[in-house]
């Protein structure tokens, strides 16, 4: 049994060994993908192969794939470089969407955690200026899958551009960009076992997108800067592994459901957010009244289990998660929420360890009160 149990895949996934091998090889081979000579052409070939691998993960046309420095950058580019006058985002978007522009109009979510489609329709109807709508495919904290197909329909009927942050969904559930109908899609490599610091923005029609990082003409002029060839190669391999492993990843729902069942057997008052909704198979948002998120995260860490309170982006800070606030969860409950997210390395032993460590904390709390 490994010394620690890593149950925080939604923060970042462990790098796949195939990826490490491919990145190592790409670093040994070197080459600037924009160079004319043979070394450059070889690097270019590796980049283009990765472009196809990443496109294949989400059923996209490789020609629309722009490699970026992160999922955050991809979201920023989609929302800022489309130059639409208005931006509508759901209240539960990742911070890289919420903070992309300071004039974003917030579309509320229902108490279930689903984007409120009627509200979206009303927001679109109240103003006829050019609009970009951004709604995520799956929420990073709750794993709840959003009604993107319906939202796209509503947005397109109103003539709006539709961007979708699929960073948490890709590689965890089947994603088909064409079937979704979205105009652009943001993805990130490290959530699926690729390297950190590489993402993509995929555009259905790249001519509608403008450059965001300025400089050289890389990425069809849409993202300046020497290509991160090892990162791109690693991403390609990770995308291929994720696509192959998609069925197995879906099977994680059994382990996840078992974990939830066991926690609720120990304490029936524990709440699971979105338990009966369409969720990512690996994600569980667990609320234990009386046991604060901070104590759970620290206590489990000290017992060798890595989980998080919510999004990992506000490092070290513990506050009411805005995603739960948007769903109307009262603060005293929201402050007692943790996110457990499994992945391909997770075993039943990891779940056992989680339950054991959680019970230790819980029993201590019970004994005290």
């Amino acid at each position: 049994m490994s010394p620690r149990s890593y149950l925080d895949f939604n923060a970042t996934a462990p790098t796949r060994s195939e990826v490490i091998d491919a990145v190592t090889k790409a670093m040994q081979e070197g080459g600037n993908a924009s160079s004319v000579h043979a070394d450059g052409r070889a690097a270019r070939a590796r980049v283009e192969r990765a472009r196809q691998q990443v496109a294949a993960l989400v059923g996209a046309d490789p020609a629309g794939v722009i490699f970026t420095g992160s999922g955050t950058e991809a979201n920023n580019q989609a929302l800022r470089a489309t130059k639409c006058e208005r931006l509508i985002v759901s209240a539960i978007e990742h911070e890289s969407v919420l903070q992309a522009r300071d004039d974003a109009v917030i579309c509320p979510v229902t108490p279930d955690g689903l984007v409120d489609l009627e509200a979206l329709q009303a927001l679109l109807a109240e103003n006829s200026s050019s609009t970009v709508v951004s709604i995520m495919l799956a929420n990073n904290e709750t794993g709840i899958i959003q009604p993107v197909v319906e939202a796209v329909q509503i947005a397109h009927d109103a003539g709006a551009f539709f961007h979708c942050d699929a960073v948490q969904a890709a590689g965890k559930i089947p994603v088909d960009m064409m079937a979704l109908g979205v105009d652009s899609l943001a993805l990130s490599a490290h959530k699926i076992g690729g390297p950190q610091g590489i993402g993509v923005l995929i555009c259905r029609d790249p001519s509608l997108m403008a450059r965001f990082v300025h400089g050289g003409g890389q990425e069809s002029g849409l993202r300046a800067g020497t290509e991160n060839v090892p990162g791109i190669v690693g991403y390609g391999v990770a995308a291929e592994c994720a696509l192959v492993g998609l069925d197995n990843f879906g099977g994680l729902a059994n382990l996840r459901d078992d974990l939830e069942l066991r926690i609720q057997e120990l304490e029936p008052n524990v709440q699971i957010i979105g338990k009966n909704l369409d969720r990512l198979p690996n994600t569980s948002k667990i609320l234990t009244k009386g046991l604060t998120s901070e104590v759970q995260v620290m206590g489990l860490d000290l017992d060798g289990v890595s989980i998080s309170a919510g999004s990992a982006c506000s490092a070290g800070r513990v506050e009411m998660p805005y995603v739960l606030a948007a769903m109307g969860v009262p603060e005293e409950l929201g402050l007692c929420a943790v996110r457990v997210s499994l992945g391909w390395t997770t075993t039943g032993e990891d779940v056992d360890r989680y339950i054991e460590a959680w019970q230790k904390l819980y029993d201590r709390k019970i004994a005290e009160t």
């Binding site: 046991l291 901070e294 070290g316 800070r317 904390l361």
Partner: protein, 375 residues
């Protein structure tokens, strides 16, 4: 060798160390880790550092939190940051500001120890199954016959007992102060020996959330209506001049009155928040022999009752202790009778009781006795 918990070996003793990022708490963590304790470092984020120093773009967490993290990494212990900004604002900064608005001179460090540290952080430590909470305070915890006792630090110049008088007996059972027997020089020596990244860091300023000692700025930010000016009057009520807000004055203050009178030796005797008066008078009018206290924390072995208990007291952190007697009054309050008059006893400050080096508790000085109905 520090023996933190009787009959328990270090490896099986979990200690949460409150790490501020300063030298003292860093050495505390390093000492305990060196002796094999199961040390967990926790740093409290108490205020928005960037806003406090009014510098745009300053890191929200501040350098101290980063320093605590670097020390924890060096020492090899887990380290967590708890965001207590909102409760610190409510329990410490707002109370601090309100106290000034009432014409008092508050001590926020005591409030901080009472609330975020010894109430909230201590609860977290208990929840994590810790056996103790250790801090870098210069004060000693002595195992007495009737339970843990609080004693002044071995290093008189660093003694922090005045700021810890409100520590309850129950809290004291759980607390540990490994630096209580050390001098500051010894602590600095240890910081160098452990090669801590904060070994050369200067001592922190008095109030952490008040930049450059400009406490009035903080008060006005929280309570903007506290800026009202008023009259400076003498003991008979004659107007001698104007002031720009009572929050700028402290009992016993002599400088900054800017009075155009022949009499140069005038002191702030009293502050009347309702009339917005700063009352000034001669030094003799500052003399007080009786002090009433509220919220008294009693740590002595004998029960504090209506029979006076002889002890020494301190009414300001930097003053030497003086002889007094403490007793309960008929109305349930606590009254201190001084053997000789003290000058400049300010409401909002603490009155702390001592029996030699032992701290017997203390309470908050109340308005009505701060000088001068007597005068």
């Amino acid at each position: 060798m520090i023996n933190l918990v009787a009959n328990k070996d270090p490896a099986n003793t979990r200690v949460v160390v409150a790490m501020s990022g300063g030298v003292d708490s860093s050495v505390t963590a390093a000492l305990l880790a060196e002796q094999g304790y199961d040390v967990v470092g926790v740093t409290l984020q108490l205020y928005d550092h960037g806003a406090a120093v009014s510098r745009k773009g300053a890191c929200c967490a501040g350098q101290d939190i980063a320093d605590a993290g670097r020390v924890a990494e060096k020492v090899g212990i887990p380290h967590y940051v708890l965001n207590y900004e909102s409760r610190f604002r409510e329990d410490v900064i707002d109370v601090f500001a309100d106290s000034y608005v009432r014409g008092e001179t508050p001590i926020p460090c005591v409030l901080c120890n009472q609330t975020v540290k010894f109430r909230d952080l201590m609860q977290v430590a208990r929840d994590l199954g810790a056996d103790a909470l250790a801090t870098g305070h210069y004060i000693r915890r002595v195992e007495g016959e009737l339970g843990a006792e609080l004693h002044r630090a071995a290093d008189e110049t660093k003694d922090q007992s005045y700021f810890l008088f409100a520590t309850t007996a129950e809290q004291l059972e759980f607390l540990r102060f490994p630096l209580g027997e050390l001098t500051k020089d010894e602590t600095r020596g240890l910081a160098s020996r452990f090669d801590l990244p904060v070994a050369a860091k200067p001592d922190s300023q008095d109030i952490c959330f008040v930049p450059q000692g400009r406490y009035a700025d903080v008060v006005l930010k929280v309570r903007p209506d506290a800026a009202d000016g008023g009259d400076i009057v003498d003991l008979e009520g004659n107007v001698l001049g104007k002031h720009d807000g009572i929050i700028h004055y402290t009992i016993g203050q002599r400088r900054g009155l800017h009075l155009d009178t022949a009499e140069d030796a005038l002191y702030v005797i009293r502050i009347d928040p309702d009339a917005k008066h700063v009352v000034v008078g001669p030094r003799a009018a500052l003399a007080t022999k009786t002090i009433t206290l509220s919220d008294v924390n009693w740590l002595g072995d004998d029960t504090l009752g209506c029979d006076p208990i002889e002890c020494d007291i301190k009414v300001r952190s930097m003053r030497p202790p003086v002889a007094a007697s403490v007793r309960k009054t008929d109305d349930g309050g606590v009254c201190v009778e001084l053997a000789a008059a003290e000058h400049g006893v300010a409401p909002g400050q603490a009155c702390v009781f001592y029996d030699g080096d032992r701290v017997l508790g203390g309470g908050w000085i109340q308005r009505e006795n701060s000088a001068t109905e007597a005068a």
